[in-house]
Symmetry: C2
Subunit: 549 residues, 2 copies
C-alpha cells in the first residue's frame, strides 16, 4: 500500500465552478464540495456541467465521505448526481444542509441521502482523516473551510472566503484558529483564488448596508430590490432598512421565497411578522411604503425581475416613480442579460440603481491583501491555489511565494492532477485521472460530448439544408428535387436559394460526363450542393442530400 | 415644404455600435458617421450589423454628404455599404481618410468613393448646413466632433470623446471652441453617453505611459505587447519606451502592420528607422532587447496573440521569461476569449500583465465629470445623449438636467426616432422610420432576419434529426427507416437513440388504428418522432421526417 497523501482536484481549478477536491490516503478518500458549473456560450444547449466521477467509479469503495464548505451551487449542485451513484455521508453546516435537502428532494433521492451537521470547530473522524470545520465570511451564511489532519501533513481548505471586519451576520473568518497552525510548518494550504488578480481588500458588507439604508431612506416611491436568493445577509439589510423606514416587505420568486422561509425558520433571518406582506395584501397596501425583494439579479429568463422588465409579470407592473435596486454583480457570462433588464426597466420609467453607479454590492471573495493575511496566519509549508481560472492560480502561487512559501513547494494544479505528498517530499505526478467535463442535457448525464457541441455550434453558424432527390435508376435521371432549409436565409429569399440549388442539380444532368460520378453518390451530391450554396451565399450550412432511388 | 429640422438616429442609440445620425432640413440631409456593430452571442453566424438605409432609399436624393468623426469601425465600418448604394461625398480627417481608404479598397469600390479631408476648425457648407470639425481626445488620433449651423438651431455632435489633460499625441478636446456657443442659448447637444454611468473622470493616457515605461524598464526578457491596432498613441508609448530602453520593435498582425505603416507615413507615429525589426532579422537579434507589438488584444481567433497563446504561431513561440502586456480592456462580449488567451499564456510560462492588475489601459470615453464639463461649456438649450445603451442615455439625460437643461428639452431617443425642431418648439414625433438591424452574413446583406437567428439558436440548442422513411403504398407498411442526427447525442449513444426512434415507428405499424393518421403525413410523423426523442432525452432537436412512397 502506498503511504502517500494524494490531493486530486476534480473540478474548480482552471475554471470558476464545479468545485470538488479529493483527498486520498491509502485506500480511503474524502471529497471537499461537489458543485456544478453553469454552461458558457460554447456549451450550447447544456443545462449544467458536473465533475467527472470516473476515478471514483474505478475505485468503487474509495470515497468515504463528502464535506461541503457552503451552500452555493458551485459547491453543492452536483451532490445529487454523486449520491445517485455513491452511498456516502455528507457533512455540512445547518443552512447548507437545508439547501442540499431541497436539491435532494428535487432529484427524488431523499431515501439515499445521509446528510449530517458539522458545526464550527467540530471535528469529524473519517478513517485516518480528522476533519475540522472553521467559519469564514462569504456571501452566504454558515460558510466555512476545513482543517484536515492526515498522517502526512495538515491541510487547510479555505472554501470560498473573504475577510470582512464588519460583517452583517457575525460571519467572521476565523483567523485566530488558522494562526494556531503556523508553528508546525507542516501545512498544505489550498486557498480560494477567485480574486487573486485583484489588488487590495474586498469591501465589507457594511458598505452595502450603508448604501442601501441611504437609498431606501431618501426614496419616496415603491422599491424593488433584486439580489442572489442565497445572499441572506443582503436580504437582512433590506429588511432592516424597511423596518427602520416603516416599509413593509413582499418577498417573491421561488428560490427567494424558499430561502427566506428556510432562513427564517433556522433563525438566520430576523424579521417582524408584521413586516411581511402576503400576496393577497399586496394590492391593497400603500405602494410607497413597500419593498419588493425578488429574484432576477442575473437576468435569468423566468425570474421575477426579468418578467417585470418584460412587462409580463402577472401581479407587478413597473412604472414611473419605482426605484429598482440591483444588489448584485453580473456573474461572467450574464453581463448582457442583466444590462438588457436594466435598459428595459429604465424604458418603463423606473429609476434603476446598479453596481456601476453606487455601492449596492460587494463581492464575496478575498482580494490579494486578504489572501496575504491568510498566508501569513498559517505560514504553510506547501501551497496550491484552488477555485479559479489558470491566471488566478498562477498569480496566487506568485503571491504565496512572495509571502514566504518555498518556490519548490508552491504549485499550480489542474483538474485531474495528482499532487503526492510523503513525509519526505511533495511532487506533482505525471499521470492524471479523468477530469473532462460531464455535461447534463435534459435527461442525459454525459451523453453529450465536446464533438456534439462542435456540431451544434456549426449548425448554429449557418443552419441546415436538406435535399430530397428522387432518382430514376433506369434512365439515370433526377425526377424530382425537394429542398428544405432551416436557419439559412430569410423566408423572402428562400425560394430563390432553393431554385438555385435545383437549377444546379439539373445542370448536372445536362452535363453527361459528371453525372455518373456525382449523381450516384450522396457524398458527392452533398459536396456539389455545399459548393453551390457557398458560391451564392459565402456560407456553409450543414447539407444533407438524400438520394431516393 | 416642412421648415423644421429633423434629427434622426439610424444607429448607436440603445446600443454600442453602428453609429449613424441623420440631420435633415427641407429636402436635404447630412449623416454623421456610418459604422458597424459587432454581433453578440444571439446573432449566430452573423459577420457584422449595419444601419438600416431604407429611409434613404425611399427618399433617394435626400442624403447630400457624410461626415465622419473618427476612424473606429463603429463609426466607419458601414461606409462601403452606403457608398455602394448612394453617391455622396464623405468628409473626414486625415487618419480617418486613410482607414476608410483601406476599407473601400477591400470592397473594390474605389471608383465610387469621393473622400474629402476636413481639418480642425474647417467649415464645409452642404446646402443649408455649415459643418465645422472640432478636435476631441479619444483612443485614436484625429478624432473630432461637429458643430453644425442650421437655419433652426446650432448642433453639437461630440463623436466619441474624453477630456484628457495629458494626452500623448496632443489630442485635446477643444473646450474653448465649444464655450463660444454658450451665449446663444440655441444649441442642441448630442453627446457621447458610453460612460454616462461611471462617476468621476476617465484616466489620462499619461497613466498608461507611466505604467508601460515602468514595466518595460524593469523587465529583462522579451516583451510582447498587444493592443488595438487603431490605438496609435498606445503604440507610440511602446515605441518610446522601447527606444528609451535600447529595445528594438517588431510589429506583427495585418491590421497592426497596416496601421503602423500608415501612421508613420502620415506623420502620426515617430519611430527611428533603426528601431524597427523586419521578419528576417527577427530570429537573429537579442530577444531580451525586443518588443513585439501585435494584434489580438480582444482574443480574436486568427490574431497573432491568440495564435501565440495556442502555440500555433509560425515564427514566435511564447516561453518562460517572456512578459506579455495586454494593453487593452475586453470589449463587452470578448471577456471569455481574452481570459482564455491569458490563461494559455500563463500555461506557456509567460508573465502576463493585464488591466485588472496594472494600469496598462485607460478607456476612451468621457465619464460623468467630463460630460458635465461639456454640458457647462456649451450650456445647450436642447439635449439628447448618443452612443450608448438605453441606461446610458437615461442617465446622461438626468445628468444634463442636473447641469441646467430644461426637463422638457432633454430627450432619450431611440434608433428610428424623429426629433423635430422648429423655431418655436421641439418635439419627438410619434412615427418612426425603419431602423431594424441589417445583418451581413457572407455575401448576403439583409438576407438573414431575426426569424433566421431564432431558428439558428434552436438548431444549436439540441441539434437536428433527419428520418428517411420508406413507405409501401400498397400494403401501407414501412419498408425501411434511416435515421441521421447531428448535434444531438455523442457517437457512442447514437445507435441506441436511432434504434429507439425506429422501434417507436415500428410500434406504430403494429398499432393499426393510429397507423392511418400518423404514417401518411410527414407532419404527424414529425410530431411522433419529436415526442419519442423528448421521452428518451428530454430534448427537442429539429426533426425532419421524410416520407418516401
Amino acid at each position: 500500500m502506498n503511504n502517500t497523501l494524494k490531493i486530486i482536484p476534480l473540478g474548480g481549478l482552471g475554471e470558476i465552478g464545479k468545485n470538488m477536491m479529493l483527498i486520498e490516503y491509502q485506500n480511503e478518500a474524502i471529497a471537499i464540495d461537489c458543485g456544478v458549473m453553469f454552461p458558457r456560450e460554447e456549451h450550447v444547449g447544456i443545462d449544467v456541467i458536473i465533475p467527472n466521477f470516473e476515478y471514483l467509479r474505478k475505485n468503487i469503495n474509495l470515497l468515504k465521505a463528502v464535506f461541503i464548505t457552503h451552500g452555493h451551487e458551485d459547491h453543492i449542485g452536483a451532490v445529487p448526481y454523486l449520491l445517485k451513484e455513491f452511498n456516502v455521508p455528507v457533512y455540512c453546516s445547518q443552512l447548507t444542509k437545508g439547501l442540499i435537502g431541497n436539491k435532494v428532494k428535487e432529484h427524488r433521492i431523499q431515501g439515499r441521502a445521509n446528510i449530517n451537521l458539522i458545526e464550527n470547530k467540530q471535528v469529524v473522524k473519517i478513517g485516518k482523516f480528522e476533519v475540522e470545520f472553521f467559519s469564514v465570511a462569504h456571501s452566504i451564511p454558515d460558510a466555512g473551510g476545513f482543517i484536515i489532519k492526515t498522517p502526512i501533513v495538515n491541510l487547510v481548505h479555505t472554501g470560498d472566503f473573504k475577510i470582512d471586519n464588519h460583517p452583517i451576520m457575525n460571519q467572521f473568518t476565523d483567523i485566530d484558529r488558522l494562526k494556531k497552525l503556523s508553528n508546525n510548518n507542516d501545512t498544505l494550504l489550498l486557498a480560494d483564488s477567485t480574486y487573486a488578480e485583484i489588488p487590495g481588500h474586498t469591501q465589507s458588507e457594511k458598505i452595502v448596508a450603508e448604501t442601501i439604508h441611504k437609498v431606501i431612506k431618501k426614496t419616496t416611491g415603491r422599491i424593488i430590490m433584486s439580489t442572489f436568493a442565497s445572499l441572506i445577509s443582503r436580504i437582512q439589510i433590506a429588511i432592516d432598512a424597511a423596518e427602520k423606514n416603516n416599509r413593509r416587505v413582499f418577498v417573491t420568486g421561488t428560490s427567494m421565497v424558499n430561502n427566506v422561509n428556510m432562513a427564517k425558520k433556522l433563525g438566520y433571518l430576523k424579521i417582524k411578522s408584521s413586516t411581511l406582506v402576503n400576496k393577497n395584501e399586496l394590492k391593497h397596501i400603500d405602494q410607497n411604503k413597500l419593498i419588493i425583494i425578488c429574484t432576477g439579479s442575473q437576468g435569468e429568463p423566468t425570474s421575477v425581475l426579468t418578467r417585470m422588465a418584460n412587462g409580463t409579470h402577472q401581479n407587478i407592473e413597473v412604472k414611473k416613480n419605482d426605484t429598482v435596486i440591483l444588489s448584485s454583480n453580473p456573474v461572467p457570462g450574464n453581463e448582457m442579460s442583466v444590462a438588457k433588464n436594466i435598459d428595459k426597466l429604465f424604458n418603463l420609467g423606473a429609476n434603476v440603481i446598479y453596481n456601476k453607479m453606487e455601492n449596492v454590492h460587494v463581492r464575496g471573495h478575498a482580494s490579494m491583501e486578504e489572501l496575504s493575511i491568510i498566508h501569513k496566519a498559517i505560514k504553510p509549508k506547501y501551497f496550491a491555489g484552488i477555485h479559479g481560472e489558470m491566471r488566478h492560480l498562477y498569480l496566487h502561487k506568485e503571491l504565496a511565494i512572495a509571502n514566504g512559501v518555498n518556490k519548490n513547494n508552491a504549485f499550480v494544479l489542474e483538474n485531474g492532477d495528482i499532487l503526492e505528498i510523503s513525509k519526505k517530499d511533495i511532487k506533482l505526478l505525471k499521470k492524471q485521472i479523468p477530469a473532462e467535463y460531464i455535461y447534463v442535457d435534459g435527461k442525459g448525464v454525459g451523453d453529450v460530448d465536446d464533438a456534439v457541441l462542435v456540431n451544434r455550434n456549426e449548425l448554429a453558424r449557418d443552419g441546415v439544408i436538406v435535399c430530397k432527390i428522387h432518382f430514376n435508376n433506369t434512365d439515370m435521371s433526377i425526377t424530382e428535387t425537394e429542398v428544405f432549409s432551416y436557419g439559412v436565409i430569410k423566408d423572402d429569399n428562400l425560394n430563390d436559394l432553393h431554385n438555385k440549388i435545383i437549377d444546379s442539380l439539373e445542370d448536372l444532368i445536362d452535363n453527361k460526363t459528371s453525372k455518373q460520378t456525382v449523381l450516384l453518390d450522396e457524398n458527392s451530391l452533398n459536396k456539389h450542393i455545399e459548393n453551390c450554396v457557398y458560391k451564392f451565399t459565402r456560407r456553409r450550412p450543414l447539407v444533407l442530400a438524400l438520394l431516393i432511388k
